[in-house]
Symmetry: C2
Subunit: 290 residues, 2 copies
């Protein structure tokens, strides 16, 4: 800080993973969004991208545009940002502050990964297990039911799966973070890897709140197509099941097999009776890309 | 591209220089700004920061928020961005496109520099020459006289001094790019290096247009305090004069000695008769920082 650039000395021989996200008020967050949550989330979404590559986060830059200098808001925002940064050993190495009527945040995060070990979307093979961490659908549920605390926490304070991503480097074939929705994000892996993917709907872990709500359509939309959960979705050979189960215990993160890949293309979701279900987002999204 | 992050393999053992800038419509550029110029400038200001550290630009990310998808505007913006990127071997490695009523651009640029050779603001020593590349005041003049083509070019298509920055690694003691204005930017060097700086006003190279305008106050404000010129301001030992003059010839960039450092603190600007001149920006800016 204080010079024209920040100077970094990466570990010799490591690859760098770089990701960037821009969040705009009114589009990615509401004007009354809690500043601390926003600070957390602006960094979390980028750390989640690094985790999906198996990269260890090291540095971040933050550019921020605000309608006026609001010291109280900035303090709370910074508290959220720095608390997460500190927890993962991320140094804020630069940034820019300017004015704009709509609050706008742009974060670039840089991580390190041993050469050749980065997880990519294109690495899935036929007959891989499809795994997901944690639970899906909570963040989308919070948009409809903001009063459900466990869901609200998923939306406002998503936990990037940094350590899990690092540990998956030698266990998973392909990974992505669930930011756009399970079906859509899985379609990215399937398409780029040249495989088909089948999900068992009932196997997908989800917040307990859905059981109380008894709204199958809302539940299906949230679980299959809801974004913003920032869990890791990955494929791994069956031979790694025991190791992955041990890893789940060690990290105290739920890891669940929710399907498998096979020869072919496209995403199929099977209901409890083994019949294909309609789902939003995934398949269309997949077709859009062809 | 296509994965959660871009993967880079930096040259082993090099330091990385990282810089980021956010440009907001209405604040950093006008709504009717020419899209190609804006694409050029969004990258140029970041490459200029890298040049001021002596770093070789390698990679950039671009996040862009637009009120609507305007393919024509985006094409012209990209033409300006990519033309400059290509000229300096910069790979666009990632980005994000979203919506906002005000066009907002955020660029992060990453460069490489041999370990320990980065130019910093704090490196100036007593009795250094103070040098500047090119001419100063043109960009500020264009704000008042947009009809003067040579000035408008400086404002809209600033040329980052990338190769010069690289070559200064072993010749200069300290460097900065002139983005806020000569006096203010020199004050950063003086303060961080713990030296005083004296400028010879008449020695400062400036566009020929000022001679025709015959407006001493406008000229003084543009030359001493006008920002956005993106020339390199640097200090170097007197023993390097001949080498720097040879470098100027080789690169076909004017390099001019405009003053010297000495023991003490603060910035003094001397007029043609050797008397201190009043100037905006520099000295106050300096005092603000203490």
């Amino acid at each position: 800080m204080g010079d024209d650039c920040a100077l970094l000395r990466p570990d010799a021989g490591f690859d760098l993973a770089v990701t960037t996200d821009m969040l705009v008020e009114g589009r990615h967050f509401l004007p009354d969004a809690e500043a601390r949550a926003l600070g957390h989330k602006a960094l979390a979404v980028n750390l989640s991208d690094l985790a999906a590559m198996g990269a260890t986060p090291r540095w971040a830059t933050l550019s921020i545009a605000l309608p006026s200098v609001d010291a109280d808001w900035l303090e709370r925002f910074s508290a959220g940002f720095y608390a997460l940064a500190e927890r993962h050993g991320v140094d804020l190495i630069g940034g820019d502050t300017t004015r704009s009527e709509r609050r706008t945040l742009s974060v670039t995060a840089i991580g390190e990964v041993p050469p050749g070990l980065a997880l990519q979307r294109s690495g899935a093979r036929e007959n891989d297990d499809i795994w997901v961490s944690g639970e899906l659908g909570g963040a989308a549920l919070a948009l409809v039911h903001p009063e459900i605390a466990e869901a609200a926490k998923r939306l406002h304070f998503p936990e990037p799966r940094v350590e899990l991503g690092e540990r998956l480097r030698r266990l998973a074939h392909a990974a992505i973070d669930v930011s756009d929705g399970l079906a859509g994000d899985l379609a990215h892996i399937a398409e780029r890897s040249g495989v088909a993917a089948t999900l068992e709907y009932e196997a997908i872990p989800r917040p307990a709140a859905f059981r109380r709500l008894k709204s199958p359509e809302l539940e299906r939309n949230c679980v299959l197509s809801g974004g913003d959960d920032y869990e890791l979705l990955f494929t791994a050979p069956r031979a790694h099941r025991a190791e992955l189960e041990a890893l789940a215990s060690e990290l105290e993160i739920a890891l669940t097999v929710i399907g498998a890949t096979s020869a072919g293309a496209g995403i199929t979701v099977l209901d409890g009776a083994g019949k294909p279900m309609a789902h939003r987002g995934g398949f269309d999204h997949f077709r859009d890309q062809r």
